[in-house]
Protein backbone atom coordinates (compact mmCIF):
# COMPACT_ATOMS: atom_id res chain seq x y z
CA UNK A 1 0.00 0.00 0.00
CA UNK A 2 2.56 2.51 1.14
CA UNK A 3 4.82 1.42 -1.65
CA UNK A 4 2.04 2.09 -4.09
CA UNK A 5 1.49 5.49 -2.64
CA UNK A 6 5.17 6.30 -2.96
CA UNK A 7 5.35 5.10 -6.51
CA UNK A 8 2.30 6.87 -7.81
CA UNK A 9 3.55 10.04 -9.34
CA UNK A 10 2.05 13.14 -7.76
CA UNK A 11 -0.65 14.89 -9.72
CA UNK A 12 0.95 17.13 -12.32
CA UNK A 13 2.04 20.28 -10.62
CA UNK A 14 0.72 19.26 -7.21
CA UNK A 15 4.13 19.57 -5.64
CA UNK A 16 4.72 23.01 -7.12
CA UNK A 17 1.26 24.21 -6.26
CA UNK A 18 1.76 23.12 -2.67
CA UNK A 19 5.15 24.79 -2.63
CA UNK A 20 3.73 28.01 -4.05
CA UNK A 21 0.95 27.95 -1.49
CA UNK A 22 3.44 27.47 1.33
CA UNK A 23 5.62 30.22 -0.07
CA UNK A 24 2.63 32.56 -0.17
CA UNK A 25 1.72 31.75 3.41
CA UNK A 26 5.23 32.37 4.72
CA UNK A 27 5.43 35.63 2.79
CA UNK A 28 2.25 36.89 4.37
CA UNK A 29 3.50 35.80 7.77
CA UNK A 30 6.74 37.70 7.25
CA UNK A 31 4.93 40.86 6.25
CA UNK A 32 2.45 40.52 9.09
CA UNK A 33 4.19 42.56 11.84
CA UNK A 34 4.61 45.57 9.56
CA UNK A 35 1.05 45.24 8.28
CA UNK A 36 -0.35 44.91 11.80
CA UNK A 37 1.48 47.98 13.09
CA UNK A 38 0.48 50.12 10.14
CA UNK A 39 -3.02 48.67 10.12
CA UNK A 40 -3.59 49.41 13.79
CA UNK A 41 -1.84 52.76 14.05
CA UNK A 42 -2.36 54.31 10.64
CA UNK A 43 -5.14 52.68 8.65
CA UNK A 44 -7.64 51.72 11.32
CA UNK A 45 -7.65 55.21 12.91
CA UNK A 46 -8.68 56.61 9.54
CA UNK A 47 -11.70 54.31 9.51
CA UNK A 48 -12.57 55.30 13.08
CA UNK A 49 -12.33 58.91 11.98
CA UNK A 50 -14.74 58.18 9.17
CA UNK A 51 -17.23 57.00 11.82
CA UNK A 52 -16.58 60.05 13.99
CA UNK A 53 -17.36 62.35 11.08
CA UNK A 54 -20.96 61.14 11.31
CA UNK A 55 -21.43 61.71 15.06
CA UNK A 56 -22.58 64.67 17.15
CA UNK A 57 -19.96 66.86 18.85
CA UNK A 58 -19.76 66.63 22.64
CA UNK A 59 -19.91 69.75 24.76
CA UNK A 60 -16.33 69.48 25.96
CA UNK A 61 -14.76 68.01 22.89
CA UNK A 62 -14.96 64.36 21.82
CA UNK A 63 -18.31 63.09 20.53
CA UNK A 64 -21.74 61.94 21.53
CA UNK A 65 -22.71 58.62 19.90
CA UNK A 66 -25.59 59.99 17.91
CA UNK A 67 -25.72 59.97 14.11
CA UNK A 68 -25.45 63.35 12.46
CA UNK A 69 -24.28 64.77 9.15
CA UNK A 70 -23.73 68.22 10.65
CA UNK A 71 -19.98 67.71 10.60
CA UNK A 72 -20.02 67.32 6.82
CA UNK A 73 -22.44 70.16 6.29
CA UNK A 74 -20.26 72.44 8.39
CA UNK A 75 -17.29 71.92 6.08
CA UNK A 76 -18.79 74.38 3.63
CA UNK A 77 -21.89 75.82 5.28
CA UNK A 78 -22.83 77.34 8.58
CA UNK A 79 -26.13 77.63 10.39
CA UNK A 80 -27.26 81.05 11.46
CA UNK A 81 -27.64 81.12 15.23
CA UNK A 82 -30.89 83.07 15.14
CA UNK A 83 -32.96 81.86 12.22
CA UNK A 84 -31.25 78.52 11.56
CA UNK A 85 -30.79 79.24 7.86
CA UNK A 86 -27.79 77.78 6.10
CA UNK A 87 -25.23 79.99 4.43
CA UNK A 88 -21.69 79.68 3.11
CA UNK A 89 -19.13 79.32 5.88
CA UNK A 90 -17.06 82.31 4.79
CA UNK A 91 -14.34 81.67 7.35
CA UNK A 92 -13.79 78.17 6.03
CA UNK A 93 -13.96 79.24 2.42
CA UNK A 94 -11.32 81.90 2.94
CA UNK A 95 -9.09 79.34 4.63
CA UNK A 96 -9.54 76.88 1.76
CA UNK A 97 -8.81 79.65 -0.69
CA UNK A 98 -5.65 80.63 1.20
CA UNK A 99 -4.50 77.00 1.30
CA UNK A 100 -5.06 76.57 -2.41
CA UNK A 101 -3.55 79.92 -3.35
CA UNK A 102 -0.46 79.55 -1.17
CA UNK A 103 0.07 75.97 -2.32
CA UNK A 104 -0.09 77.03 -5.95
CA UNK A 105 2.18 80.03 -5.42
CA UNK A 106 4.65 77.83 -3.57
CA UNK A 107 4.59 75.28 -6.39
CA UNK A 108 5.30 78.00 -8.96
CA UNK A 109 8.11 79.45 -6.85
CA UNK A 110 9.74 76.05 -6.34
CA UNK A 111 9.50 75.58 -10.10
CA UNK A 112 11.22 78.90 -10.76
CA UNK A 113 14.11 78.05 -8.47
CA UNK A 114 14.03 74.26 -8.62
CA UNK A 115 14.15 73.64 -12.37
CA UNK A 116 17.33 75.67 -12.98
CA UNK A 117 18.89 74.08 -9.92
CA UNK A 118 18.04 70.58 -11.13
CA UNK A 119 19.35 71.49 -14.58
CA UNK A 120 22.54 72.83 -13.06
CA UNK A 121 23.14 69.62 -11.08
CA UNK A 122 22.37 67.34 -13.99
CA UNK A 123 24.80 69.16 -16.29
CA UNK A 124 27.74 68.90 -13.89
CA UNK A 125 30.37 66.23 -14.62
CA UNK A 126 29.08 62.89 -13.39
CA UNK A 127 31.50 62.52 -10.50
CA UNK A 128 30.54 65.92 -9.09
CA UNK A 129 26.78 65.44 -9.24
CA UNK A 130 26.69 63.34 -6.10
CA UNK A 131 28.09 66.29 -4.17
CA UNK A 132 25.50 68.77 -5.48
CA UNK A 133 22.66 66.30 -4.93
CA UNK A 134 23.91 65.79 -1.42
CA UNK A 135 23.76 69.56 -0.87
CA UNK A 136 20.09 69.57 -1.88
CA UNK A 137 19.22 66.46 0.09
CA UNK A 138 20.72 67.42 3.43
CA UNK A 139 18.34 70.33 4.13
CA UNK A 140 15.45 68.10 3.12
CA UNK A 141 16.28 65.56 5.78
CA UNK A 142 17.03 68.09 8.47
CA UNK A 143 14.30 68.98 10.87
CA UNK A 144 11.38 70.78 9.27
CA UNK A 145 10.67 72.76 12.43
CA UNK A 146 14.27 73.89 12.64
CA UNK A 147 14.20 75.05 9.03
CA UNK A 148 10.97 76.93 9.71
CA UNK A 149 12.58 78.56 12.75
CA UNK A 150 15.50 79.55 10.53
CA UNK A 151 13.08 81.37 8.21
CA UNK A 152 11.47 83.01 11.21
CA UNK A 153 14.88 84.31 12.30
CA UNK A 154 15.30 85.78 8.86
CA UNK A 155 12.01 87.63 8.52
CA UNK A 156 11.19 88.69 12.08
CA UNK A 157 10.91 92.42 12.76
CA UNK A 158 14.36 92.24 14.35
CA UNK A 159 15.44 89.60 11.86
CA UNK A 160 18.39 89.67 9.50
CA UNK A 161 16.46 90.98 6.47
CA UNK A 162 14.97 93.93 8.32
CA UNK A 163 18.31 94.58 10.01
CA UNK A 164 20.12 94.80 6.69
CA UNK A 165 17.42 96.90 5.03
CA UNK A 166 17.49 99.32 7.99
CA UNK A 167 21.29 99.51 7.88
CA UNK A 168 21.36 100.37 4.20
CA UNK A 169 18.63 102.89 4.78
CA UNK A 170 16.06 101.56 2.33
CA UNK A 171 13.49 101.48 5.12
CA UNK A 172 13.12 103.48 8.30
CA UNK A 173 10.95 101.02 10.11
CA UNK A 174 11.03 97.23 10.15
CA UNK A 175 8.65 95.67 7.64
CA UNK A 176 6.09 93.37 9.23
CA UNK A 177 6.68 90.10 7.41
CA UNK A 178 5.89 87.58 10.13
CA UNK A 179 2.29 86.39 10.46
CA UNK A 180 1.42 87.15 6.85
CA UNK A 181 0.58 84.99 3.86
CA UNK A 182 3.91 86.08 2.44
CA UNK A 183 5.70 84.52 5.41
CA UNK A 184 3.87 81.21 4.92
CA UNK A 185 4.55 81.10 1.18
CA UNK A 186 8.18 82.06 1.66
CA UNK A 187 8.63 79.44 4.36
CA UNK A 188 6.94 76.67 2.41
CA UNK A 189 9.00 77.45 -0.70
CA UNK A 190 12.16 77.18 1.37
CA UNK A 191 11.07 74.02 3.12
CA UNK A 192 9.72 72.08 0.13
CA UNK A 193 12.18 73.17 -2.57
CA UNK A 194 14.18 69.90 -2.49
CA UNK A 195 10.98 68.00 -3.35
CA UNK A 196 10.95 69.84 -6.67
CA UNK A 197 14.66 69.56 -7.43
CA UNK A 198 14.98 65.79 -7.04
CA UNK A 199 12.35 64.54 -9.56
CA UNK A 200 13.26 67.25 -12.08
CA UNK A 201 16.89 66.26 -11.72
CA UNK A 202 15.96 62.64 -12.40
CA UNK A 203 14.17 63.72 -15.58
CA UNK A 204 17.03 65.91 -16.82
CA UNK A 205 19.49 63.15 -16.01
CA UNK A 206 17.61 60.85 -18.38
CA UNK A 207 17.41 63.49 -21.10
CA UNK A 208 19.27 62.49 -24.24
CA UNK A 209 21.38 65.53 -25.00
CA UNK A 210 21.79 64.42 -28.59
CA UNK A 211 18.17 65.51 -29.02
CA UNK A 212 19.10 68.97 -27.82
CA UNK A 213 22.04 68.95 -30.19
CA UNK A 214 19.69 67.93 -32.98
CA UNK A 215 17.48 70.92 -32.12
CA UNK A 216 20.47 73.25 -32.30
CA UNK A 217 21.55 71.59 -35.51
CA UNK A 218 18.12 72.38 -36.92
CA UNK A 219 18.59 76.07 -36.20
CA UNK A 220 16.87 76.34 -32.82
CA UNK A 221 18.33 78.89 -30.44
CA UNK A 222 18.89 78.07 -26.77
CA UNK A 223 15.49 79.28 -25.68
CA UNK A 224 13.63 77.68 -28.55
CA UNK A 225 15.44 74.41 -27.88
CA UNK A 226 14.45 74.68 -24.22
CA UNK A 227 10.83 75.46 -24.96
CA UNK A 228 10.29 73.08 -27.87
CA UNK A 229 12.54 70.12 -27.03
CA UNK A 230 13.83 70.11 -23.46
CA UNK A 231 10.68 71.20 -21.68
CA UNK A 232 8.38 68.61 -23.29
CA UNK A 233 10.93 65.89 -22.54
CA UNK A 234 11.35 66.74 -18.86
CA UNK A 235 7.66 67.51 -18.38
CA UNK A 236 6.92 64.30 -16.46
CA UNK A 237 9.60 65.23 -13.93
CA UNK A 238 8.19 68.73 -13.63
CA UNK A 239 4.66 67.43 -13.08
CA UNK A 240 5.92 64.91 -10.53
CA UNK A 241 7.84 67.61 -8.68
CA UNK A 242 4.85 69.95 -8.74
CA UNK A 243 2.56 67.36 -7.20
CA UNK A 244 5.18 66.37 -4.66
CA UNK A 245 5.36 70.02 -3.55
CA UNK A 246 1.66 70.76 -3.84
CA UNK A 247 0.49 67.86 -1.65
CA UNK A 248 2.44 68.64 1.53
CA UNK A 249 1.70 72.36 1.09
CA UNK A 250 -1.99 71.66 1.12
CA UNK A 251 -1.72 69.68 4.35
CA UNK A 252 0.97 71.88 5.91
CA UNK A 253 0.60 72.46 9.61
CA UNK A 254 3.90 73.43 11.22
CA UNK A 255 4.99 76.13 8.76
CA UNK A 256 1.69 78.09 8.79
CA UNK A 257 1.46 77.72 12.54
CA UNK A 258 4.93 79.13 13.18
CA UNK A 259 5.06 81.73 10.40
CA UNK A 260 1.36 82.49 9.96
CA UNK A 261 0.54 82.98 13.60
CA UNK A 262 -3.01 82.51 14.90
CA UNK A 263 -4.76 84.52 12.19
CA UNK A 264 -3.54 83.17 8.88
CA UNK A 265 -4.85 79.64 9.10
CA UNK A 266 -4.41 76.97 6.47
CA UNK A 267 -6.29 73.71 6.02
CA UNK A 268 -4.15 71.83 8.56
CA UNK A 269 -4.59 74.50 11.21
CA UNK A 270 -8.35 74.57 10.67
CA UNK A 271 -8.45 70.84 11.36
CA UNK A 272 -6.41 71.26 14.52
CA UNK A 273 -8.71 74.03 15.66
CA UNK A 274 -11.70 71.67 15.71
CA UNK A 275 -9.90 69.35 18.10
CA UNK A 276 -8.78 72.24 20.30
CA UNK A 277 -10.71 75.39 20.92
CA UNK A 278 -13.41 74.58 18.33
CA UNK A 279 -14.47 71.42 20.15
CA UNK A 280 -16.10 70.04 17.07
CA UNK A 281 -14.53 66.64 16.46
CA UNK A 282 -16.99 65.50 13.77
CA UNK A 283 -16.25 68.65 11.75
CA UNK A 284 -12.53 68.08 12.29
CA UNK A 285 -12.92 64.50 11.09
CA UNK A 286 -14.94 65.60 8.06
CA UNK A 287 -12.34 68.26 7.21
CA UNK A 288 -9.55 65.70 7.53
CA UNK A 289 -11.30 63.30 5.20
CA UNK A 290 -11.93 66.11 2.71
CA UNK A 291 -8.23 66.98 2.74
CA UNK A 292 -7.36 63.33 2.33
CA UNK A 293 -9.68 62.99 -0.65
CA UNK A 294 -8.08 65.99 -2.40
CA UNK A 295 -4.61 64.62 -1.74
CA UNK A 296 -5.65 61.19 -3.04
CA UNK A 297 -6.82 62.69 -6.32
CA UNK A 298 -3.47 64.46 -6.69
CA UNK A 299 -1.63 61.27 -5.80
CA UNK A 300 -3.51 59.18 -8.34
CA UNK A 301 -2.61 61.76 -10.97
CA UNK A 302 0.99 61.58 -9.80
CA UNK A 303 1.07 57.78 -10.05
CA UNK A 304 -0.39 57.95 -13.54
CA UNK A 305 2.16 60.49 -14.68
CA UNK A 306 5.13 58.63 -13.23
CA UNK A 307 4.02 55.24 -14.48
CA UNK A 308 3.48 56.63 -17.95
CA UNK A 309 6.99 58.02 -17.78
CA UNK A 310 8.31 54.58 -16.85
CA UNK A 311 6.54 53.04 -19.81
CA UNK A 312 8.12 55.56 -22.12
CA UNK A 313 11.62 54.60 -21.11
Amino acid sequence: MSDMALNTPPEPGALELEEARQDNRSRWLLALPALLIIGCFATLPLLVMLVYAFLTPGDYGNVVWKFSTDGWVAVLLQRDIFDDTLMWADAHLSIFWRSLRLSLITTVLTLVFGVPTAWFIATRPREKRQFWLFLVTVPFWTNLLVRTIAIQELIRSEGVINLILLKIGIIDEPIQMMFTDFAIGFGMTYVYLPLMVLPVYAAVDKLDFRLVEAAHDLYAGRWTAFRRVILPLIKPGIIAGSILVFIPCLGAYVTPRVLGGGKNLMFGNLIELQFGAGRNWPLGAALSLTLMAIVMVALIYYVRVTSREREDV
Binding site: R27, W119, L135
Partner: protein, 290 residues
Protein backbone atom coordinates in the same frame (compact mmCIF):
# COMPACT_ATOMS: atom_id res chain seq x y z
CA UNK B 1 7.96 82.54 -49.73
CA UNK B 2 9.78 79.25 -50.14
CA UNK B 3 12.54 81.12 -51.82
CA UNK B 4 13.26 83.33 -48.87
CA UNK B 5 13.21 80.49 -46.37
CA UNK B 6 15.54 78.54 -48.57
CA UNK B 7 18.03 81.32 -48.90
CA UNK B 8 17.63 82.03 -45.19
CA UNK B 9 18.50 78.52 -44.27
CA UNK B 10 21.37 78.61 -46.66
CA UNK B 11 22.90 81.56 -44.93
CA UNK B 12 22.50 79.86 -41.59
CA UNK B 13 24.17 76.70 -42.81
CA UNK B 14 27.07 78.73 -43.98
CA UNK B 15 27.47 80.36 -40.64
CA UNK B 16 26.97 77.10 -38.79
CA UNK B 17 29.53 75.13 -40.73
CA UNK B 18 32.68 76.86 -39.49
CA UNK B 19 31.38 76.73 -35.93
CA UNK B 20 30.66 73.02 -36.16
CA UNK B 21 33.94 72.13 -37.81
CA UNK B 22 35.84 74.49 -35.55
CA UNK B 23 36.53 71.96 -32.83
CA UNK B 24 39.67 73.84 -31.95
CA UNK B 25 37.59 76.86 -30.99
CA UNK B 26 38.65 78.12 -27.55
CA UNK B 27 35.20 77.64 -26.05
CA UNK B 28 33.22 74.54 -27.01
CA UNK B 29 29.62 75.03 -27.95
CA UNK B 30 27.71 73.37 -25.13
CA UNK B 31 24.03 72.75 -25.72
CA UNK B 32 23.52 72.20 -22.01
CA UNK B 33 24.08 75.87 -21.20
CA UNK B 34 20.90 77.80 -20.59
CA UNK B 35 21.17 81.53 -19.90
CA UNK B 36 20.56 82.43 -16.27
CA UNK B 37 20.10 78.89 -15.03
CA UNK B 38 23.47 78.67 -13.33
CA UNK B 39 22.96 81.99 -11.58
CA UNK B 40 19.55 80.93 -10.26
CA UNK B 41 20.98 77.58 -9.19
CA UNK B 42 23.87 79.14 -7.29
CA UNK B 43 21.48 81.56 -5.65
CA UNK B 44 19.24 78.64 -4.68
CA UNK B 45 22.10 76.78 -3.05
CA UNK B 46 23.02 79.95 -1.21
CA UNK B 47 19.39 80.47 -0.14
CA UNK B 48 19.10 76.87 1.07
CA UNK B 49 21.98 77.26 3.47
CA UNK B 50 22.01 80.93 4.44
CA UNK B 51 19.04 80.79 6.86
CA UNK B 52 20.45 77.72 8.57
CA UNK B 53 23.86 79.36 8.85
CA UNK B 54 22.37 82.50 10.38
CA UNK B 55 20.49 80.34 12.88
CA UNK B 56 23.68 78.53 13.81
CA UNK B 57 25.60 81.81 14.04
CA UNK B 58 23.08 83.41 16.41
CA UNK B 59 23.11 80.38 18.67
CA UNK B 60 26.63 81.49 19.60
CA UNK B 61 25.55 85.08 20.34
CA UNK B 62 26.51 86.24 23.80
CA UNK B 63 23.60 88.67 24.13
CA UNK B 64 19.96 88.02 24.94
CA UNK B 65 18.80 89.80 21.86
CA UNK B 66 18.15 87.81 18.73
CA UNK B 67 19.14 90.77 16.61
CA UNK B 68 22.33 92.31 17.87
CA UNK B 69 25.58 90.41 17.84
CA UNK B 70 27.29 90.79 21.18
CA UNK B 71 30.19 88.41 20.78
CA UNK B 72 30.84 84.70 20.78
CA UNK B 73 29.60 82.61 23.67
CA UNK B 74 28.41 79.13 24.50
CA UNK B 75 26.01 80.60 27.03
CA UNK B 76 22.83 79.33 25.35
CA UNK B 77 24.21 75.84 25.00
CA UNK B 78 25.01 75.87 28.68
CA UNK B 79 21.53 77.10 29.46
CA UNK B 80 19.92 74.40 27.32
CA UNK B 81 22.13 71.77 28.90
CA UNK B 82 21.13 73.02 32.32
CA UNK B 83 17.42 73.11 31.52
CA UNK B 84 15.83 70.03 32.97
CA UNK B 85 12.86 70.19 30.62
CA UNK B 86 15.20 70.19 27.64
CA UNK B 87 17.20 67.26 28.98
CA UNK B 88 13.99 65.40 29.78
CA UNK B 89 12.61 66.04 26.29
CA UNK B 90 15.91 65.08 24.65
CA UNK B 91 16.05 61.77 26.49
CA UNK B 92 12.43 61.06 25.58
CA UNK B 93 13.10 61.93 21.93
CA UNK B 94 16.04 59.54 21.80
CA UNK B 95 14.19 56.70 23.52
CA UNK B 96 11.24 57.22 21.23
CA UNK B 97 13.29 57.41 18.05
CA UNK B 98 15.48 54.50 19.13
CA UNK B 99 12.61 52.15 19.88
CA UNK B 100 10.43 53.23 16.96
CA UNK B 101 13.33 52.92 14.50
CA UNK B 102 14.31 49.52 15.90
CA UNK B 103 10.83 48.02 15.65
CA UNK B 104 10.24 49.70 12.31
CA UNK B 105 13.47 48.45 10.74
CA UNK B 106 12.95 44.89 11.99
CA UNK B 107 9.39 44.67 10.70
CA UNK B 108 10.34 46.49 7.49
CA UNK B 109 13.16 43.99 6.94
CA UNK B 110 10.70 41.13 7.27
CA UNK B 111 8.21 42.85 4.99
CA UNK B 112 10.94 43.55 2.42
CA UNK B 113 11.97 39.89 2.47
CA UNK B 114 8.34 38.99 1.92
CA UNK B 115 7.70 41.32 -0.98
CA UNK B 116 10.90 41.21 -3.04
CA UNK B 117 12.48 38.66 -5.29
CA UNK B 118 9.33 36.82 -6.10
CA UNK B 119 6.93 36.56 -8.91
CA UNK B 120 3.71 38.49 -8.45
CA UNK B 121 1.79 36.75 -5.71
CA UNK B 122 -1.72 37.18 -4.54
CA UNK B 123 -1.96 40.27 -2.38
CA UNK B 124 1.50 41.67 -3.05
CA UNK B 125 0.11 44.93 -4.38
CA UNK B 126 -2.05 45.16 -1.29
CA UNK B 127 0.96 44.71 0.97
CA UNK B 128 2.76 47.46 -0.95
CA UNK B 129 -0.21 49.78 -0.64
CA UNK B 130 -0.60 49.14 3.08
CA UNK B 131 3.09 49.63 3.84
CA UNK B 132 3.16 52.91 1.96
CA UNK B 133 -0.18 54.10 3.30
CA UNK B 134 1.31 56.43 5.95
CA UNK B 135 3.20 58.25 3.19
CA UNK B 136 0.04 58.94 1.23
CA UNK B 137 -2.00 60.58 3.97
CA UNK B 138 -1.18 64.13 5.16
CA UNK B 139 0.48 64.02 8.56
CA UNK B 140 -2.16 66.21 10.15
CA UNK B 141 -4.87 63.74 9.12
CA UNK B 142 -3.02 60.77 10.62
CA UNK B 143 -2.38 62.87 13.71
CA UNK B 144 -6.02 63.71 14.43
CA UNK B 145 -7.13 60.16 13.56
CA UNK B 146 -4.67 58.84 16.14
CA UNK B 147 -5.83 61.49 18.60
CA UNK B 148 -9.38 60.18 18.27
CA UNK B 149 -8.44 56.53 18.72
CA UNK B 150 -5.93 57.07 21.50
CA UNK B 151 -8.23 59.44 23.39
CA UNK B 152 -10.79 56.70 23.36
CA UNK B 153 -8.32 54.04 24.57
CA UNK B 154 -6.92 56.39 27.22
CA UNK B 155 -10.41 57.04 28.60
CA UNK B 156 -11.25 53.33 28.52
CA UNK B 157 -8.07 52.08 30.17
CA UNK B 158 -6.75 55.12 31.99
CA UNK B 159 -3.35 54.02 30.72
CA UNK B 160 -1.03 56.75 29.56
CA UNK B 161 2.55 56.00 28.65
CA UNK B 162 5.14 56.51 25.98
CA UNK B 163 3.83 53.37 24.25
CA UNK B 164 1.22 55.37 22.34
CA UNK B 165 3.96 57.53 20.87
CA UNK B 166 6.15 54.51 20.13
CA UNK B 167 3.28 52.83 18.28
CA UNK B 168 2.41 55.94 16.27
CA UNK B 169 6.05 56.66 15.39
CA UNK B 170 6.73 53.05 14.43
CA UNK B 171 3.78 53.06 12.05
CA UNK B 172 4.96 56.09 10.07
CA UNK B 173 8.62 55.05 10.24
CA UNK B 174 8.04 51.64 8.62
CA UNK B 175 7.66 52.94 5.03
CA UNK B 176 10.86 54.98 5.40
CA UNK B 177 12.78 51.99 6.73
CA UNK B 178 11.24 49.73 4.08
CA UNK B 179 12.46 51.88 1.17
CA UNK B 180 16.25 51.38 1.40
CA UNK B 181 15.95 47.80 2.65
CA UNK B 182 13.80 46.83 -0.29
CA UNK B 183 16.12 48.65 -2.69
CA UNK B 184 19.06 46.73 -1.28
CA UNK B 185 17.29 43.39 -1.58
CA UNK B 186 16.23 44.07 -5.13
CA UNK B 187 19.76 44.76 -6.30
CA UNK B 188 21.06 41.72 -4.45
CA UNK B 189 22.08 38.76 -6.58
CA UNK B 190 19.79 35.93 -5.53
CA UNK B 191 21.99 33.26 -7.04
CA UNK B 192 24.20 33.82 -4.00
CA UNK B 193 21.57 32.24 -1.80
CA UNK B 194 21.01 29.50 -4.35
CA UNK B 195 24.75 28.87 -4.25
CA UNK B 196 24.71 28.67 -0.46
CA UNK B 197 21.85 26.16 -0.61
CA UNK B 198 23.85 24.18 -3.12
CA UNK B 199 26.77 24.15 -0.68
CA UNK B 200 24.73 22.38 1.98
CA UNK B 201 23.48 25.38 3.96
CA UNK B 202 20.05 24.95 5.52
CA UNK B 203 17.51 27.75 4.91
CA UNK B 204 18.33 29.22 8.33
CA UNK B 205 22.07 29.08 7.65
CA UNK B 206 21.53 30.70 4.26
CA UNK B 207 19.76 33.57 5.94
CA UNK B 208 22.30 34.01 8.71
CA UNK B 209 25.46 33.55 6.67
CA UNK B 210 24.52 35.07 3.31
CA UNK B 211 21.24 37.01 3.15
CA UNK B 212 21.58 38.97 6.37
CA UNK B 213 25.23 40.04 5.94
CA UNK B 214 24.44 41.22 2.42
CA UNK B 215 21.34 43.09 3.60
CA UNK B 216 23.10 44.92 6.43
CA UNK B 217 23.85 48.18 4.62
CA UNK B 218 20.19 48.43 3.64
CA UNK B 219 18.97 47.68 7.14
CA UNK B 220 21.33 50.22 8.69
CA UNK B 221 20.27 52.84 6.16
CA UNK B 222 16.62 52.05 6.87
CA UNK B 223 17.18 52.31 10.60
CA UNK B 224 18.88 55.68 10.25
CA UNK B 225 16.16 57.08 8.03
CA UNK B 226 13.50 55.90 10.46
CA UNK B 227 15.46 57.37 13.36
CA UNK B 228 15.75 60.78 11.69
CA UNK B 229 12.09 60.78 10.70
CA UNK B 230 10.99 59.94 14.23
CA UNK B 231 13.37 62.47 15.76
CA UNK B 232 12.01 65.23 13.51
CA UNK B 233 8.35 64.54 13.92
CA UNK B 234 6.27 67.36 15.41
CA UNK B 235 2.72 66.99 14.15
CA UNK B 236 1.83 63.45 15.16
CA UNK B 237 3.72 63.74 18.45
CA UNK B 238 1.94 66.96 19.28
CA UNK B 239 -1.46 65.31 18.92
CA UNK B 240 -0.68 61.92 20.45
CA UNK B 241 1.42 62.86 23.47
CA UNK B 242 -0.10 62.88 26.92
CA UNK B 243 0.58 65.69 29.37
CA UNK B 244 4.27 66.01 30.23
CA UNK B 245 5.45 63.89 27.31
CA UNK B 246 7.38 66.57 25.49
CA UNK B 247 9.91 65.66 22.85
CA UNK B 248 12.53 68.12 21.62
CA UNK B 249 10.47 69.27 18.62
CA UNK B 250 7.24 69.73 20.62
CA UNK B 251 9.20 71.52 23.34
CA UNK B 252 10.58 73.93 20.75
CA UNK B 253 7.17 74.43 19.20
CA UNK B 254 5.83 75.33 22.66
CA UNK B 255 8.72 77.75 23.21
CA UNK B 256 7.95 79.58 19.99
CA UNK B 257 4.71 80.80 21.51
CA UNK B 258 6.55 82.45 24.35
CA UNK B 259 9.37 84.94 24.33
CA UNK B 260 11.95 83.39 22.08
CA UNK B 261 15.46 83.22 23.46
CA UNK B 262 18.52 81.99 21.55
CA UNK B 263 18.21 78.81 23.57
CA UNK B 264 15.93 77.50 20.82
CA UNK B 265 18.68 78.34 18.32
CA UNK B 266 21.16 76.37 20.36
CA UNK B 267 18.90 73.33 20.46
CA UNK B 268 18.16 73.75 16.74
CA UNK B 269 21.87 73.80 15.99
CA UNK B 270 22.41 70.58 17.92
CA UNK B 271 19.53 68.92 16.02
CA UNK B 272 20.91 70.22 12.73
CA UNK B 273 24.35 68.83 13.39
CA UNK B 274 22.99 65.49 14.59
CA UNK B 275 20.67 65.28 11.58
CA UNK B 276 23.40 66.23 9.10
CA UNK B 277 25.72 63.61 10.57
CA UNK B 278 23.04 60.91 10.32
CA UNK B 279 22.12 61.84 6.76
CA UNK B 280 25.77 61.91 5.70
CA UNK B 281 26.20 58.49 7.26
CA UNK B 282 23.11 57.33 5.43
CA UNK B 283 24.56 58.52 2.11
CA UNK B 284 27.84 56.85 2.90
CA UNK B 285 26.29 53.54 3.89
CA UNK B 286 23.99 53.36 0.90
CA UNK B 287 26.85 54.19 -1.48
CA UNK B 288 29.10 51.52 0.01
CA UNK B 289 29.63 48.39 -2.06
CA UNK B 290 27.75 49.66 -5.01
Amino acid sequence: MSDTTLSGSKIETETVVPAASGKKAPKGYSVSTLPGFSIIAIFTFFALYAPIMILVLYSFNAGTSLAIWEGFSLRWYAQAAGNERVIDAAIRSLILAGSAATIASISATMAALATTRTRRFKGRTMIYALINQPLMVPEIVTAVALLIVFAWIKVMTGYTSLLYLVAAHTAFCIPFAYLPIRARLETMDDTLEVAARDLYASPMQVFRRVTLPLMWPGIIAGFMLAFVISLDDVVITEFVKSAGQETIPTYMLGQLRRVVTPEVNAISTIILVAGAVLVSLFFWVSRERR
